[in-house]
Assembly symmetry: C2
Homo-oligomer: 315 residues x 2
């Protein structure tokens, strides 16, 4: 069936969230794909993001109707546009009535010396944490940016978009790819209850044990193993169990991994996530796929089942 | 339902077509997304393209089993990667058992003076015709390239891919966007019988009557109104009727047009296509969509119904 006409623009049912500038809007599967920008206090720079609002938003008869959302965290070198443009997720989100929130992957334009020397550190490589080491400590605050600034602003009950809030009474899930899969797994466990559902594509599952992760954790946090452990999904899942806490996602975490992924062996270590979840009693569906690589043709192939997983968990 | 595993690479059921180099392969919805390159005699330069082969290819038990295909011609500034990456077409093609063929939009690297001065002429703007004016006449041979070189090579019964041939006994459809919508409409009518089905997104429907078309036709063909008319879809459709020939697509041509498309009024003129088809008795389904623009969020929203149209026409 062909998508419905785009009934309304942003104006018809909501103002842009306070403090956000609309850079572009596109009719998409009966909903609207937005590109937004705002001045981030946490980052100290302008930050861009993309938001998809499904057609069900336009059907809401009152300004208090709000839709569930899934946050997607992208991988190294990506921007807010990558998943938005390449994954084909809006089709499924439109059908399920889910909003999609796509943040950028790091500060841009800070002018820190060396920020663009490597593709796996600095610009495009924020690792979704708050740096404590200089010269990164001023701007590289992606965790605080997401959890204390961006997501609260977008889901604000009166000044945000018509998106449900964070927390157990809200309806926001989180997923990500590679570095963003690390981000999703780690933020979900560092902020228990904030996200109702969790999934990842080819995540960096144990950053303390791979070159990408070690470089990032060392560069942003210094040589502090105690701090590193607080940003490693496997360590966080094990640590909850060691404290006698129940698993955070009793409905399960969904992870897809391609077996033709050239980063699988050295960087991703899904078997360590599998072991940690097993040890902690955290249900995990880890699907390994012959013939799929690390890119967006892989993500596009499986994004539908991820969004259905989030929708089911938030039902 | 999640896509099937990618059962095989190119090697398992077919060699790369003779003379083509495989630049990349990606598992995608149970099929394989290829990026290929070859030395084109018609263009006199290397040309790139993308081909998607659906999972049904792998199921073929004999080397003579061949799948239907749809050629997609892209618009100004695009490459073989644009639709491949942004449209989400592989999901539907995999389901329907269609191959997809995505050529580039012009010669690249010819080094003709002024070839990259404008985004709507020269590089990225081949208009799917054979230039007769200098300095374009040597390389800008996109029509002969597609019809006499690329498509015959890809569909060659023994040296090509396992794709059905051109012609009434074959199973190849054609579609395109903007300049590529012009290309699809015009090539289908200049080569009667070659393509079994035809559709377009926001085509340049009457290039003799809009600035993009006039610049291209004048630049590539010179000031020759007789030659221009042979590259204008409306003129070609009318001309068939004037000769007493029946419409080429009795099952209909499908065209989608967004009403928030900023090029609609000055460049696209779908109402002229509507009038020409009406006059010629050529069935046309022209759908106008509120809120959709000229970009790939529009194309992605409607690509499923285009592929289903081609599949139906080739059944």
């Amino acid at each position: 069936m062909a998508p419905a006409p785009v009934a309304t623009g942003l104006g018809a049912w909501a103002a842009a969230p306070a403090g956000f500038e609309v850079l572009g809007t596109h009719g998409c599967f009966g909903g609207v794909q937005y590109f937004l920008q705002h001045e981030s206090k946490e980052i100290g720079l302008p930050m861009r993001l993309a938001v998809f609002l499904p057609p069900s938003v336009a059907l809401a008869s009152s300004s208090t109707a709000r839709v569930p959302a899934v946050v997607y965290l992208a991988g190294l070198t990506c921007t807010e546009e990558t998943f938005t443009m390449k994954a084909g997720a809006q089709r499924v989100a439109a059908e399920l009535g889910l909003a999609l929130i796509m943040p950028d992957t790091s500060p841009r334009g800070a002018g820190v010396a060396g920020e663009s020397e490597r593709w796996d550190f600095g610009v495009g490589a924020g690792f979704y944490l708050d740096a404590t080491e200089e010269p990164w400590a001023r701007n590289w605050h992606m965790e605080s940016y997401l959890m204390h600034e961006l997501l609260p602003a977008l889901t604000h009950p009166t000044q945000g978009l018509p998106i449900a809030g964070l927390g157990p009474q809200g309806a926001v899930g989180i997923m990500g790819h590679s570095m963003g899969g690390h981000g999703a797994l780690v933020l979900a466990h560092r902020h228990p209850g904030a996200f109702r559902s969790l999934s990842a594509f080819a995540p960096i599952a144990a950053p303390t044990q791979c070159p990408w992760g070690q470089r990032a954790l060392g560069g942003y946090l210094g040589n502090r193993p105690d701090a590193w452990a607080l940003h490693d999904a496997c360590e966080l899942i094990r640590s909850r169990a060691a404290q006698g806490l129940p698993p955070l996602y009793p409905q399960g975490i969904l992870v897809d991994q391609g077996l033709a992924d050239k980063f699988l062996e050295a960087e991703l270590h899904p078997h360590l996530l599998e072991a940690a979840c097993e040890e902690a009693g955290q249900p995990l569906t880890l699907r390994r796929h012959e013939g799929y690589d690390h890119g967006y043709y892989f993500i596009a192939s499986f994004v539908e089942s991820h969004l259905r997983h989030h929708h089911r968990c938030m039902a």
